[in-house]
Symmetry: C2
Subunit: 278 residues, 2 copies
């Protein structure tokens, strides 16, 4: 079992039992790529920061990501029934429980950060960063733009802004929290740009995979077509989308290589994302 899986399992161990807690664990421990924790861990390693220090922040990232998936899948949002190869939370439990499980994971993310073992000023900065990246100036702004874009033609610029917020901001938070734990505040804006760029590239990849793979291969349903959403493929065509994807990935790698950190493993992680098939 990966270390992050053990940390996630432990993270809700001391909570009072309820149906909502069951639903939280159901969604949080459903596997998944654990990309955001991995980005945080590898960036910490590149800086020479002990990854044990990063554990609560990795859990917090995955909790925020998981809550956003639970709420995103709700009937009033994307109305998806399949996620990571199994029932979405509201299908397995019920809508009310899924709403509360998402809410509780959002809150719990901040609780686990308050329990970290680093310095208080580092904790506060990480809490500030994650709250900002996950909130109405970040991930939720992206979700809001996503909903507003349904049944509507949007421009490539608008789609880029959507992806930079919806996906990029949590990637950015992973990089930025590692930078804080390494006491490197100077590069926070630099890491933010890397994170947003990677998020954009990741979503272009998703759009391409969505039309080249089946739901079964991906382990999730593809609601974008049903919800009449613009994607990078419908807006740019698959060839141009692939070109822009390559450009952004190359820029991310170039930016990281320009830093004086030991980024070999981090770059390798990025390469595995670059070549992912699901």
């Amino acid at each position: 079992m990966k270390p992050i899986e053990m940390e996630l399992e432990k993270s809700l161990e001391n909570c009072e039992s309820s149906k909502v807690l069951e639903a939280m664990n159901y969604s949080l421990l459903a596997g998944g790529k654990r990309l955001r924790p991995l980005l945080l861990f590898e960036t910490c390693k590149a800086y020479g920061v002990d990854t044990n220090i990063a554990n609560p922040f990795a859990c917090a990232l995955e909790m925020i990501h998981t809550y956003s998936l639970i709420h995103d899948d709700l009937p009033a949002m994307d109305n998806d029934v399949l996620r990571r190869g199994r029932n979405t939370c509201h299908v397995e439990f019920d809508e009310a429980t899924a709403i509360l499980a998402g809410d509780a994971l959002n809150t719990e993310a901040f609780y686990v950060m308050s329990q970290a073992i680093c310095r208080d000023d580092q904790k506060i900065k990480c809490i500030e960063i994650l709250a900002n990246c996950a909130g109405v100036n970040g991930m939720i702004l992206g979700q809001a733009l996503d909903i507003e874009s349904e049944n509507k033609q949007i421009s490539w610029n608008e789609l880029e802004r959507l992806h930079r917020n919806k996906t990029g901001k949590l990637f950015a938070a992973a990089f930025m929290m590692a930078s804080v734990l390494a006491d490197d505040k100077v590069h926070l804006p630099f890491w933010q740009e890397i994170g947003e760029k990677l998020g954009l590239a990741f979503q272009i990849q998703d759009d391409i995979l969505d039309i080249t793979k089946t739901s079964e291969e991906l382990g999730k349903s593809n609601s974008d077509v049903e919800n009449h959403k613009s994607t990078s493929v419908t807006l740019l065509g698959i060839e141009e989308a692939n070109k822009i994807l390559a450009k952004h990935f190359d820029e991310v790698v170039g930016m990281i290589e320009s830093l004086e950190i030991n980024s070999t493993d981090l770059i390798q992680l990025l390469m595995s994302i670059r070549t992912r098939q699901m």
Copy 2:
């Protein structure tokens, strides 16, 4: 305008505009009793703590309370259409926007606390307290118990546990954060009990008001009867409910008077709650 109203207005001023932000402001600035901020301010005053220091924590409390109301009103939860005399958030906007607005207020609560001007160790302790009181061991546990109690006979003990968590824990957070800001950690468990007791009393009052006042007088719909929920009145009868209400209020006042703080105004606030008609 009350100081807390000004603080709440300012709290979302620097956010990027979106429909979700509109919905956040719509619900956050809808008036209401602002009880949790008032409890925090008066407890700070009783301890001699500058109330300016308390502002971000007061905003955070009200953000958490507001998000819980938005989600509680959703069709999948209590399905209420009227709140504080106007449309609930999902009626005024739409369900998806209401879900996101609630999510964003939950997240923003932790952002505003990270920006407070007190010491870092006090911020961290307040974040820990609010996350714990609002999460799956606190307010959300109460919500979960509330949902599970629909269409079902529950015992008075179960209803007490429900109210102590759903309402009491946020009251407790108000008292406990004031105690942290006053550097009085010794009395945290004492304040927690006061908060839970007050929450229980408050909910018994609500149950009594619900059957003695109209929706119009209360400014909100009464969904408890429609959702076949047990209330303190249906379980105990109105006479016994009134007796237990009086007992808990008296105990709260007695506990506060036993502390060596200047609690005159705090007690007066409690008296105004004791005699409320809505």
